[in-house]
Symmetry: C2
Subunit: 229 residues, 2 copies
DNA sequence: ATATTAATTTTGGTATACCTAAATTATTTT
DNA sequence: AAAATAATTTAGGTATACCAAAATTAATAT
């Protein structure tokens, strides 16, 4: 008996859709076509068209009801996690073996993630000792496509005088990441919340023994996560 | 004054065309659209259409006269060498840092060559100490896009009792390369021509102290090159 | 409940890069 | 120099993935 691994090939574009749907539906809610369009920098109409197509395939990647948004099917989720695993392994490996910095790796990984083979994935993963997180602290799905559960809490939710360690920065913008690095806000750094002033939307924290003030705008609030010590 | 590096982006498909045209025109002759089609596994008509398009651009990549074939313009040659440099650096690097064997690297490199940045090219090149040849002994164009001249001669042209070293194998087929490796016919191996029998198209050579017979078919004749000792 | 506004979907189009079949041009043979 | 053959080119068509504008549907406010 022969097992056909029939790994059908998805276009780069479809892989990008799946990746974004995965992120938008992590909270359990369906993703709207508009939200998809925004994230992918395409017109809403394009997203709608693609969802109709993906949902009407013989073995659909998404479940889609008009005006209700999309969710991934089991198959779609597997495909999305495969791409995310590629992306994060590549980022880790660009940093570890080619000396890239964490603010440079995203765009390179965006391109490479679509073209590497399973062989390549396996080789870089084992060369790095099967890392669990990428350079931004994002969890890397395992080879059998399980996403590790992440128990970090948002930096912005720390109470005064709580101490924690920076675990994950959910961002890819080069300048923003460079900015955080300059502050000392890097993965693994120890941080202590000093004062959380909800009036002026500023949080004062202690980093490498120095006081820093960070604005609690959308840039930070849902992007920096910590592990309480 | 600002220098705009206007590196326009070519599609993967166009890059593949240029690479093939480069190889077909290394002998100085123009490449026919049919030859292009054969190498690229497309219909002759598709090659013709693409040549018309590339030749009629504002700054054309090829020079094309109907029924006379195509040649690269200076601009086209630069673009072709850039892709070839990417391909060969990637092959070298897959072998050196990820333990790939020489018969596995071609297809992976075919995909990666189109998506890596100049930054990436530079990093892997310097990580390897700017290698001059890829794992098949093919010369790697320099960073300023000059192809090193290669003085090897065909293995099939060795005279009886001449000794040489295997310098370059111009092939990408996995099984063929595995076959050569099994014979001991690998880059750098020392070889001595014993008898060149033009009757039965067989050449007898000595490799690692053992006698081997190789058929002088199209598979070998223009594919294995040596440096005479 | 109706009107207004916002979100979504449909429609008709674009560009790329391929294809097959028919027509043309070039080359070779007689 | 014709005729036959081979190579090339043109013409018309496909699929993917995008777009803008119009039409529709859903949500919100009066």
């Amino acid at each position: 008996m022969v097992t056909t691994t029939m790994t059908e090939t998805l276009t780069d574009s479809v892989q990008d859709y799946l990746k974004v749907i995965y992120e938008l539906t992590e909270n359990g809610e369906a993703a709207s076509t508009t939200a998809l369009a925004t994230r992918l920098h395409i017109a809403p109409a394009s997203a709608t068209g693609m969802m109709q197509k993906l949902a009407s395939a013989k073995a659909p990647l998404v479940e889609y009801r008009k005006h209700q948004g999309v969710k991934l099917t089991v198959k779609g989720k597997r495909a999305a996690l495969e791409v995310i695993r590629h992306h994060r392994l590549i980022e880790a490996w660009l940093v570890q073996t080619l000396g890239y910095s964490w603010d440079e790796v995203h765009s390179e990984a965006e391109k490479l993630e679509h073209v590497i083979s399973e062989e390549f994935e396996e080789r870089i993963a084992s060369a790095m000792g099967n890392p669990l997180r990428d350079p931004h602290g994002e969890p890397i799905p395992s080879a059998d496509l399980v996403m590790p559960k992440d128990q970090g809490i948002a930096l912005a939710n720390l109470k005064s005088n709580q101490e924690a360690r920076i675990q994950r920065v959910h961002a890819q913008d080069t300048d923003f990441l460079k900015h955080l690095e300059k502050l000392g806000l890097i993965i693994g750094a120890r941080v202590k919340a000093l004062e959380v002033s909800r009036y002026d939307q500023v949080m004062r924290i202690q980093l490498r023994g120095r006081k820093e003030a960070i604005a609690l705008g959308p840039a930070i609030t849902n992007r920096v996560f910590v592990e309480i010590l």
